[in-house]
Structure formats: structure tokens, C-alpha cells
């Protein structure tokens, strides 16, 4: 009898105390990547996941839910339990710009941000045999002819070029393309005067296959100081893009803090830094969750003004 009571008491004590001892993370964490497997964004996420595994001492299961520029993953993650065992990976514009288009049901307030891990760089590129060499030359050519043929990839770059067109008094003839490859093809083949492009235009520029006339990200292109940013050129618009880790709203604060510090350590790893700087050609930047939320809110206001400006 006495033994039985002891066992029961021990069991009761164990079950009551157990949760307090079970420190996060005590089971595998699912990382939902908002891009299809195999791309540059997915690779960065997987490298970070591997680093985080060794820091947290727990498995990270990478699950790809690509589509709509991260919106599919966002819709999924925000409906999961906020226990820190399901987190997402998307980009800043998924939260700062996409909700403004009115096509998705979420806003930046529907998720908790964990951290920003690295930045993307974007540029305006022109064909190598274009008659102009720089931004001013391009504007002059377009004014002379009356219009500019422009290959667009996403709604944000379209809004920015429309804004510039309005300001300069040029008619912008927007050629829609699907994905980066279509725009690349149009600009390399000389079928358009100007195209939006990711940092993968930089090696092409270094090989002399195309001209880069401006950078859209506010930080500019560090290794090519001759490429002006849009603010250098006198436009108060920019496209800031960065990789963002997030979780469902009201995430367990302890879990969020642990993930945040794990990421802060993971971005310092040699493998990741090499990937970002030399392969992906983005830039290193780390922001904690609060800073990420603040900069996304700031971007959203800027994009709102941009959209209002081109509507008039």
C-alpha cells in the first residue's frame, strides 16, 4: 500500500513538474519555406536550418510551401499553433507590399516576426547594345522617342517604374513577364530598353552582357559604386527586400527569443556568409524580431504612398 502510494505520488509529481523541465525545443521544429525547393531563397533557408539544428540541439524539418511570393506559406503558418514548433520563412514584401494589393486576407499584424537574416539586392538592367550607358541617357532616349519598353516581374517594380515615368513625363510601356527568366531573356535579347532584375544580373554585368543603370535597394551595390541608387538619382522610392523568419501571432515568447538568438548565431556561420555574399550576391544584415516588425511597418507606409501617388 505504502509503495503504491509512493509510486502514485511520484507519478503525480512527475506529470506536474514535467512540463517545467521540458525546455523548448523538445521536439522537431517545422520550418515552412515560402518558396519552391531548390531556389536561392530555399537554399539560404536550408543552410540556416542546418546551423540552427546544431545550435538548438533539435531537428528542423524544412517544408516547402511555395507560391504567391511567400503568401501561401504565410496563410498556412498563421493558422498553426503559436507554440514555436511551426515557423515560416518569407520575404519583407510578403508582409509590407502584398497585403496592399488587396488580394490576400492577412496583414503584417497577423504574424510575429522572429528575425531578418539577409538582404536582397535588385537593379534596373538594360541591353548591352542599348544606345545609352547610364540612367540620364536612358531617360533622354525615352523622352526623345516618347516611350520606354520595360520588362516587369512583380507588382512592386511596376509601381516604382510607373512612379518614375510620371515624374519624368515618359510613357512606360510595361511588358509583363512570368518570373525572372522572362525579363532576363527580354533584356539580354534587346527586346526591351529596361528590365527589373535580381542580383543575378550582377555577374552578367561583370561579364559585359548587360548594363546596370540603377539599384532599387536603398543600400546600393557595394562592389560597384558607379551604380547609383534611386535616391542618388533624386527619387524618394526604393524596393527593400530581405529574408524574414516569422511565426503565428502571439507566439510563445520564450520560444521566439530562443529562435531569435539561434538565428543571430546562425547568420555568423561561414557557410551562410559565403552563400549570401558570393553565391546569392545579397548582403549581410541581421535584425531581431522587433526591428523587423518596425522596418516592415515603415516599408508598408512608403509603399502605400507610392501606390497612392501613381493612382492620381
Amino acid at each position: 500500500m505504502k509503495i503504491l502510494r509512493t509510486i502514485l505520488a511520484a507519478a503525480a509529481a512527475f506529470t506536474m513538474v514535467a512540463p517545467a523541465y521540458a525546455e523548448y525545443p523538445d521536439k522537431p521544429i517545422t520550418l515552412v519555406v515560402g518558396f519552391r525547393a531548390g531556389g536561392g531563397s530555399d537554399t539560404a533557408a536550408r543552410i540556416l536550418a542546418t546551423e540552427m539544428e546544431s545550435i538548438l540541439g533539435q531537428k528542423l524539418i524544412v517544408e516547402n510551401k511555395g507560391g504567391a511570393g511567400g503568401a501561401v506559406a504565410t496563410e498556412y503558418v498563421r493558422r498553426q499553433k503559436p507554440d514555436g514548433y511551426t515557423i515560416g520563412f518569407a520575404v519583407a514584401t510578403t508582409f509590407a507590399f502584398t497585403p496592399l494589393t488587396g488580394n490576400v486576407a492577412y496583414t503584417a499584424d497577423d504574424v510575429d516576426f522572429v528575425a531578418t537574416t539577409h538582404g536582397y539586392r535588385t537593379v534596373f538592367a538594360s541591353p548591352k547594345d542599348a544606345t545609352f550607358d547610364d540612367w540620364a541617357g536612358m531617360i533622354a532616349t525615352a523622352k526623345d522617342r516618347g516611350w520606354l519598353n520595360y520588362a516587369s516581374i512583380i507588382p512592386l517594380d511596376r509601381a516604382i517604374i510607373k512612379y518614375i515615368g510620371n515624374k519624368e513625363g515618359i510613357e512606360v510601356n510595361i511588358v509583363p513577364t512570368r518570373g525572372g527568366a522572362g525579363a532576363r531573356q527580354a533584356v539580354l535579347g534587346g527586346h526591351v530598353d529596361l528590365a527589373f532584375s535580381g542580383s543575378n544580373a550582377l555577374p552578367m554585368y561583370e561579364d559585359g552582357a548587360l548594363k546596370v543603370v540603377a539599384a532599387l535597394n536603398p543600400e546600393g551595390i557595394a562592389e560597384h559604386t558607379s551604380i547609383p541608387t534611386l535616391s542618388n538619382l533624386g527619387y524618394d522610392v526604393a524596393a527593400s527586400e530581405a529574408a524574414v523568419f516569422f511565426g503565428p501571432k502571439d507566439m510563445d515568447p520564450e520560444a521566439r527569443a530562443k529562435l531569435e538568438s539561434a538565428l543571430e548565431e546562425a547568420v555568423k556561420s561561414e557557410a551562410f556568409r559565403d552563400f549570401v555574399n558570393n553565391k546569392f550576391r545579397g548582403f549581410e544584415t541581421f535584425q531581431d524580431g522587433a526591428a523587423t516588425a518596425a522596418s516592415i511597418a515603415e516599408d508598408a507606409v512608403a509603399y502605400q504612398e507610392l501606390l497612392a501617388a501613381i493612382k492620381e
Binding site: K27, P28, T30, I61, E63, N173, I174
Partner: protein, 171 residues
């Protein structure tokens, strides 16, 4: 249509439904095309903000093409009588419904158990054997050992191959 009949004829030879199916098909296609043109396309495609060809142009032209083909099919089959092909039988419809419901049952079970467990492959390991038993039942006349083999060996092989080999998560 689904679920109607079927039980009486499961063993008999497949008999075509008694009416010219291509005639009905032509009418259905025409009707669907018109439904697209007058209701679905206006409701689902927004032409605002377009500068070249409007986004609704391709869907509308395709829908008109479908209406035209539906009409051609209808007219062709008004003249010719009888059904040259095998056609769709009631057994087919019942069978299709049974197959789809089996897969749907497995998916719902997998989703539900997976959500509840929150760990990879728990939902799969519960639902896949159930699904395989149902699928094997659909193929009538399998010996008993096959049910056991399909329900145990196959999910286990997929689990080992996909999870341990390829690290692909399933619910």
C-alpha cells in the same frame, strides 16, 4: 449522377446508358461555355488596370470556342443515331465515386491525425494502411495476404524511403 444505381449491376457486363451520350456532352459543353462567358468570367476576372490585351480576352475566346465545339458536337449527333463507343456506364460512375471517396477518406484521416499529433508521418502511418485496404478492396478478388502486404509493407517502405532516405516530411 454519382451514387445512383450501380449496386444492382456491379457484376454484370457494362451497359451504356440509354441515350446518345455525345449529344448530351455537346449540350453540357455549350451550357458550360455560356455559363463561363456570362457568369464565371465576369465574376472572377478583373480587367481593371490592363494596358495591352485585357486579361479576360483569352478566357472569353476559349469559352466561345468551347461553345462552338459543343454546338458542333450536338449537331453532329442529332443526325447519327446509336452510340459507337463504349461510353460511360452507371457502373463506371459508381466505381469512380467509390474510388474518389476512398482517397478522400484517407486524406481526411491523414490530415486530422497529422494535425492532432503534430509530428511528421504519424498521420500517414495511421491513414495509409486504411487507405490501402480500401484501394485493394476496390480491386475485387485479391487474396487475403495481399491486404496484409499492402497495408503493412507498402506504407513502411514509403516511410523509410521518403523520410529516412529523402527527408521529405509528410503529416
Amino acid at each position: 449522377m454519382a451514387g445512383k444505381g450501380g449496386t444492382k449491376r456491379t457484376t454484370g457486363p457494362t451497359r451504356p446508358v440509354e441515350l446518345n451520350q455525345d449529344l448530351v456532352l455537346g449540350l453540357v459543353i455549350t451550357g458550360f461555355g455560356l455559363l463561363l462567358i456570362f457568369w464565371i468570367i465576369p465574376a472572377q476576372v478583373n480587367d481593371g488596370g490592363s494596358f495591352g490585351l485585357p486579361p479576360s480576352l483569352a478566357p472569353k475566346s476559349l469559352a466561345w470556342l468551347m461553345v462552338a465545339m459543343g454546338a458542333v458536337l450536338t449537331v453532329q449527333n442529332l443526325k447519327i443515331h446509336g452510340d459507337p463507343g463504349r461510353g460511360l456506364t452507371r457502373v463506371d460512375v459508381a466505381y469512380l465515386a467509390a474510388s474518389v471517396l476512398s482517397v478522400a477518406f484517407m486524406l481526411v484521416l491523414m490530415q486530422w491525425v497529422g494535425d492532432w499529433a503534430g509530428r511528421p508521418y504519424v498521420g500517414f502511418l495511421v491513414a495509409a494502411p486504411a487507405g490501402l485496404v480500401l484501394f485493394t478492396l476496390l480491386h475485387t478478388g485479391a487474396p487475403l495476404w495481399v491486404y496484409l502486404f499492402n497495408a503493412v509493407a507498402a506504407p513502411l517502405a514509403i516511410y523509410i524511403g521518403f523520410w529516412w532516405g529523402l527527408r521529405l516530411p509528410l503529416p
